[in-house]
């Protein structure tokens, strides 16, 4: 009862439901049903959003480019799946007796591969250009991980949100440079994803995402 208002303990974070499970799973509790439900729900919403066309971005240009709402809505499932990146409270992470690098690899792998798989699933059943859609999803997921790792807390949203505002604002980035929206820049998008992966390898594996 002597706790300060707002202070949270590890026990608070775990919640009553996880009390009986192994402490590792509980602390890194990304296998909770609520997490999976939120993630699946978010991807279903993304799937629906690919069916809507909002002619905001290049209103005068018709042709083959992915629609803005399909890309912008990727932010939600990516933010939810980035929840797995958090390793736990600061003291627990700093005081770890063993290296956390393997777990960090695993978490990053889950985050990126779940995103890639879900985006591929949607691309199979909806009319979006598949390559650029999956590429966008993976790139956003990687940027989210990078931002979270660099700035913690809201860093991932700040980074991906800024990138999305810049590429989504009408005519701000000319069509010939907008790798997020035009399938013909697939090679450039692939290089961008690769560069982000290299950055993550340098940053994420050293800087844990606390929380």
């Amino acid at each position: 009862m002597s706790r300060l208002v707002g202070e949270r303990t590890v026990r608070d974070r775990l919640g009553a439901r996880d009390e009986g499970r192994s402490s590792w799973l509980a602390v890194h509790g990304f296998l909770r049903p609520s997490w999976w439900c939120a993630l699946v729900g978010a991807w279903v919403l993304v799937g629906f959003s690919t069916a809507v066309r909002l002619p905001f971005q290049y209103p005068s240009e018709d042709g083959n480019f992915i629609d803005t709402i399909a890309v912008v809505s990727l932010l939600v499932p990516v933010a939810i799946s980035a929840g797995v990146l958090a390793e736990g409270p600061r003291d627990l992470v700093r005081g770890a007796a063993r290296s956390l690098a393997p777990g960090r690899f695993l978490r990053l792998g889950v985050h990126l591969s779940v995103t890639a798989l879900a985006a591929s699933g949607i691309a199979m059943i909806s009319p979006v250009p598949a390559g650029v859609f999956i590429g966008d999803a993976v790139l956003l997921a990687a940027l989210f991980a990078l931002g979270d790792s660099l700035r913690g807390g809201l860093g991932g949203f700040a980074l991906t949100g800024t990138v999305l505002v810049v590429v989504t604002a009408p005519r701000l980035v000319p069509a010939e440079f907008n790798v997020f929206y035009f399938p013909e820049h697939a090679a450039a998008l692939a290089w961008l994803i690769l560069a982000t992966f290299v950055l993550i390898a340098g940053v994420f594996l050293r800087r844990p995402v606390l929380g």
Partner: protein, 447 residues
């Protein structure tokens, strides 16, 4: 005591400012110099600024509710609604600062050029009220979610909701929100309509604040009253547009003597472009000679019959008897506020040669006489030949199009004296305009 530390406040203002600037910056040529379109594009920018605002609201709310401040608030002497309202007002002030900073920059830039009209207060107030509503919706969303999820969800939610409204119910959006694509250079939404819009947006914000802070019954009452205002706007809003005074009035600038400068008639709202029109007109006449009309007065910016009549009256009163040529804004200057140099130069060449746009694909393999003339005109006016001179520009690049047959004719066209060239243009004017020029006729240049 402040809830938001200054550095966070500045970050919020910067984020909103950037989101607004990202919307208005790239389209500067469409609004700069005209008050009506400046206000319009600033209202439109609430698409991204509103998404960012609701994300800020959701994150702020999540931090307040999870960080313990909400519990502290329950022990306050004031009502929970007052506590929540105060917290949101503080965030809103930073948001308003970011949005207004960009607003002020845009108005200042337009004020330096505009020739008619004045800045208006009502669109700004209504946009700020809309941002307040975004903030309160984000606040409501962030109460039960973590900031990491609430922020993105609010951002996507607002973007998607407004996007769906704009795409599928544009009339409803114009009627009840300050985002109204119909108001622009010549027509505006009356200030009282924008006032009513600001009123319902503010009332809805208050209702949501009451609702989420435990005053459910009062909140619902306010929202019901708000819905009456919205219903009234749905019936009244779509039809109420008022013309902006003096913007459509024609003015004719320049000299009737074609040798000197030429003349152009344009609506007063575009008066600040008159000098550029005259400069370009005289340049084109000098460079293209008799290929373009010499004894006409252009009436620019998609004139309707009334505008043409008005221009004719002005010319008659000055004793000028020239042919009036209406210039289409869609093909010749893209309907922009700023002068479109490329569009107008291209239009002069293409109209003179009888190029018709949008008639389907042409075979660019082998050049036609019209291609040769167009290439010459484009080169004289420094337009690019690779198809990059505006939407639908012809590709006339010697690397793409085969000019072998006309090499000597092109050489003659380029090197002929202006007198002999003008004589040739005058002789074959009808064929050039009609697109029936033959290779033999083209070969006569310089002979």
């Amino acid at each position: 005591m402040t809830l938001v530390p200054t550095r966070w406040g500045l970050a919020i203002a910067l984020a909103i400012g950037l989101a607004t600037a990202a919307m208005v910056g790239p389209s500067w040529a469409w609004w700069l110099g005209i008050w009506g379109t400046t206000h319009n594009v600033l209202s439109d920018s609430v698409l991204l600024a509103g998404a960012a605002t609701s994300a800020v609201g959701a994150i702020g709310s999540s931090r307040v509710h999870r960080g313990g401040l909400a519990q502290l608030g329950r022990g306050a002497a004031r009502s929970p609604a007052a506590v929540a309202g105060r917290a949101m007002t503080e965030i809103w002030l930073w948001i308003a600062a970011g949005y207004s900073a960009v607003y002020a920059v845009c108005l200042t830039l337009t004020g330096r050029q505009a020739t008619v009209g004045r800045p208006e207060m009502a669109p700004w107030v209504a946009a700020l009220a809309l941002l307040a509503l975004c903030l309160s919706l984000g606040w409501a969303l962030g109460r039960r979610l973590s900031a990491r999820i609430a922020g993105p969800l609010a951002f996507v939610g607002w973007y998607g909701a407004l996007g769906v409204l704009e795409s599928f119910a544009p009339q409803l959006m114009s009627a009840v929100t300050p985002i109204d694509p119909r108001f622009g250079a010549y027509d505006g939404v009356p200030a009282w309509i924008l006032g009513v819009k600001a009123a319902w947006l503010t009332a809805a914000t208050v209702g949501i604040v009451l609702l989420v802070s435990g005053s459910g019954r009062r909140g619902m009452a306010v929202l019901w009253l708000t819905s009456l205002l919205v219903a009234a706007l749905v019936f009244v809003g779509p039809d109420v547009l008022e013309p902006r005074k003096g913007t459509r009035t024609q003015e004719c600038v320049g000299s009737a003597d074609p040798e000197v400068l030429g003349m152009v008639c344009l609506p007063r709202v575009k008066g600040f472009l008159a000098e550029q029109w005259l400069r370009e007109q005289s340049l084109a006449r000098g460079k293209l000679g008799a290929l373009v009309d010499q004894d006409v007065v252009y009436v620019v910016d998609e004139p309707d019959p009334d505008a043409l009549t008005e221009a004719r009256q002005i010319l008659d009163s000055r004793g000028i008897n020239a042919t009036l040529v209406p210039v289409s804004s869609t093909t010749c200057h893209s309907g922009q506020a700023q002068f479109d140099v490329t569009g107008w130069r291209r239009c002069q060449v293409e109209d003179a040669i009888g190029y018709r746009r949008g008639e389907g694909p042409r075979d660019f393999g082998v050049a036609t006489p019209a291609d040769v003339l167009t290439r010459w005109g484009f080169e004289r006016l420094d337009l690019s030949l690779d198809g990059s001179a505006g939407p639908g520009a012809p590709i006339l690049d010697p690397g793409t199009v085969d000019y072998t047959e006309f090499e000597s004719a092109y050489e003659a066209l380029s090197t002929a004296s202006s007198v002999s060239r003008d004589a040739w243009f005058t002789r074959y004017r009808a064929q050039i305009r009609g697109g029936t020029l033959t290779a033999e006729q083209l070969a006569e240049i310089g002979s």
